[in-house]
């Protein structure tokens, strides 16, 4: 199978869908003439022209609202945020309008729109550029939240997000755009709300999603040498969450570690923990462990950033703790 970069998978998904459906456009800062801040829309202006690949001024609230209004009147916009850190300037439009219009209008208006861009940390960028708001968005009824970890998932899920008739938050990573992975030629769409077991194992389940899942794979390799068999569940979609796949895995391994690149308080990990204790209490042989970022803003210094960010050693330690081994 051919291998392409994550950014190319994103670009293919958007381009294929735009060829199929005239009502789709891409809007955001630097998406057109600059070819995307991270080159995820490379070549799209040339193919689709300025009517459908639209550079905006730096006005995240304004263009989010304009895109939502256009969705109420027949368009299917894709809005790129250069990072979801900047989405906070426009979050009122996402939470109060995109997520609510359908219910408030009694189902008269819908809002088929995708907000996409990178989430979480990406090196030494300091506090304002190193945040993950998956749980913020996933907390809101009316939205769906997708966070892929591979080029294959990114392409199939972005196509599904664009075709979905509800508003979707689609989160990528600056540090994944260069990642390569196998992506078949030809069209495929992956279902929203379905997790995938990315590595089968028998002793411990690790649930994770997005870029940070790589640390789980590294940890699994280390642990395998110590005869600990790790199963890794990639959530892929945070909302709606595929509880069945998590529960099935936990009922098999009886031990759960959750790895998430976000602050611990009321995190996605907290939600998973609640669900598992409620639905699989008797299957657990150890308390659930979660690994998150430190409960502080990110810091710039490499030493402090390393202290802040979860890594494979943290995962190894957590797995050993739920296994009661040293």
């Amino acid at each position: 199978m051919r291998t392409i970069q994550f950014r190319e998978a994103i670009c293919e998904a958007m381009s294929e869908e735009m060829r199929r459906d005239e009502s789709i456009f891409l809007m955001g800062e630097e998406v057109a003439e600059y070819n995307g801040a991270y080159k995820a829309s490379k070549g799209m202006l040339d193919e689709f022209g300025p009517k459908r690949v639209i550079d905006t001024p730096i006005a995240e609230l304004g263009f989010a609202g304009i895109a939502i209004g256009s969705a109420m009147n027949g368009n299917r916009p894709i809005v790129e945020y250069m990072t979801f850190n900047f989405s906070l300037v426009g979050i009122d439009q996402i939470i109060n309008n995109a997520a609510k219009i359908r219910q408030m209008s009694g189902g008269q208006f819908n809002c088929p729109i995708v907000f996409r861009g990178p989430t979480a940390s990406a090196g030494q960028l300091g506090a304002t550029h190193s945040q993950a708001f998956e749980n913020w968005y996933a907390n809101t009824p009316g939205l769906k939240v997708i966070v892929p970890s591979t080029p294959y998932d990114a392409k199939g899920l972005l196509k599904a997000a664009i075709r979905d008739d509800d508003p979707v938050i689609f989160m990528e990573s600056e540090q994944m755009y260069g990642d390569k992975g196998e992506v078949p030629e030809g069209e495929y769409v992956l279902p929203i709300g379905v997790a995938e077991i990315k590595r089968e194992g028998t002793d411990v389940t690790i649930v994770s999603f997005g870029k940070i899942i790589k640390e789980a794979f590294k940890a699994a390799e280390i642990l395998e040498k110590e005869n600990i068999s790790v199963e890794i569940v990639d959530l892929r979609t945070v909302r709606p969450m595929d509880h069945d796949t998590i529960l099935k895995s936990v009922k098999k391994t009886n031990r759960l570690v959750i790895l998430e690149e976000a602050w611990p308080f009321a995190s996605v990990a907290s939600e998973i923990t609640y669900q598992v204790q409620e639905q699989a209490f008797d299957f657990l042989d150890a308390p659930i462990q979660r690994i998150t970022t430190a409960d502080t803003p990110a810091a710039y210094s490499p030493v402090l950033l390393e202290e802040w960010l979860p890594n494979a050693n943290d995962v190894v330690k957590a797995v050993k703790s739920v296994m009661y081994v040293k």
Partner: protein, 331 residues
């Protein structure tokens, strides 16, 4: 613009009186606790809507506004019984009781809400216009908001992009003098809100909002400009007689000030022309008054007698996806 005739004046009188009495009825049933939540009434501002509707092409033009929004959808063709029922929280309401006072919508009549966050609807209005331009339609979107919303960043971001992309949108600030209890004077360094458009090179001007003829003429010019050449900004100077919402003690203004505005009441202005021009006899006017009262009573009866929505409805329209797996919230 369509000529302003005897029929126009009679329609204006009937419509504006109906809107006024409809709002009065809501105030009355609110005190009886049949309508709850916040209630923002349009009394005093009727000429803005009457003039706008006269100038719009109601076969295609669209409207979006803030939370003082009960009578605009009625003006655009929505059955007032359904608006009243929405405020009662009933199944027969425009949103089946899920929107309430601040969130009236009608896709059929191109009324895009009904928005509760001050200024949040301004970019939506430009977005609706964006979609029309994208599709090649020549419809125009009237994007209405209050003087309070003019101080939001959303206005400036939207004005900038609407001009950049020449969107077919008319921005209408209904300046009724007060953002809740804060006068326009106390929110900015100058009081001419229409001048905010000039920084974006947007054609902008003030209009007397107590007179439907003046509003209609200005709206027509603005709408037809928007249809061909892009955004236009009107500051319609109007006045609300009632408080911001029902809980407003109105300590920020004097009774004399309200009385002054009532001297130039838009409905009285229309009625004066009708009488002066002999467009209707006293008996005919009385008949209109009775018809209006009966229609309002009919709305109340309909809302009273309508059933509440089925509880399952809560889960039925959040998502387009039919089987969305909501988390359970109680045993």
């Amino acid at each position: 613009m369509k000529e302003i005739t005897k029929e126009t004046y009679l329609k204006w009188y009937k419509d504006m009186l109906f809107w006024r009495k409809f709002e009065d009825k809501l105030a009355a049933v609110y005190i009886q606790q049949k309508v709850r939540g916040f209630l923002h009434l349009y009394n005093g501002q009727e000429a803005v809507l009457a003039g706008a509707l006269h100038a719009m092409d109601l076969t295609k033009d669209k409207m979006i506004t803030a939370y003082r929004n009960h009578v605009q959808p009625i003006g655009m063709g929505v059955d007032p019984k359904r608006v009243m029922a929405e405020l009662y929280g009933k199944e027969t309401g425009t949103s089946h009781g899920m929107g309430g006072s601040m969130h009236i919508f009608s896709k059929e009549h191109r009324f895009y809400g009904g928005h509760g966050i001050v200024g949040g609807q301004i970019p939506l209005g430009a977005g609706i216009a964006f979609a029309d331009k994208y599709k090649g339609s020549d419809a125009v979107t009237l994007t209405c908001f209050g003087d309070g919303a003019a101080r939001q960043g959303s206005l400036h971001e939207t004005f900038n992009m609407a001009m950049l992309w020449k969107l077919p949108v008319v921005f209408v600030v209904e300046n009724n003098g007060y953002a809740m209890g804060t006068s326009v004077k106390r929110t900015a360094n100058h009081e001419d809100i229409w001048k905010l458009g000039l920084g974006y090179d947007m054609p902008s001007k003030p209009v007397d909002g107590m007179n439907p003829v003046k509003v209609a003429e200005a709206m027509y010019e603005a709408i037809e400009h928007a249809r061909k050449d892009g955004p236009y900004f009107l500051e319609v100077k109007t006045y609300r007689y009632r408080g911001h919402s029902m809980s407003d003690a109105q300590s920020y203004r004097t009774k004399d000030e309200v009385a002054e505005y009532k001297k130039i009441d838009p409905i009285t202005q229309v009625l004066d022309v009708i009488k002066k021009e002999n467009y209707a006899t006293d008996d005919e006017i009385k008949a209109i008054n009775k018809e209006v009262k009966d229609k309002v009573d009919e709305c109340e009866k309909f809302a009273e007698e309508s059933p509440y929505p089925n509880k399952q409805l809560l889960y039925d329209v959040v998502y387009e996806q039919e089987d969305y797996p909501f988390l359970k919230h109680r045993l």
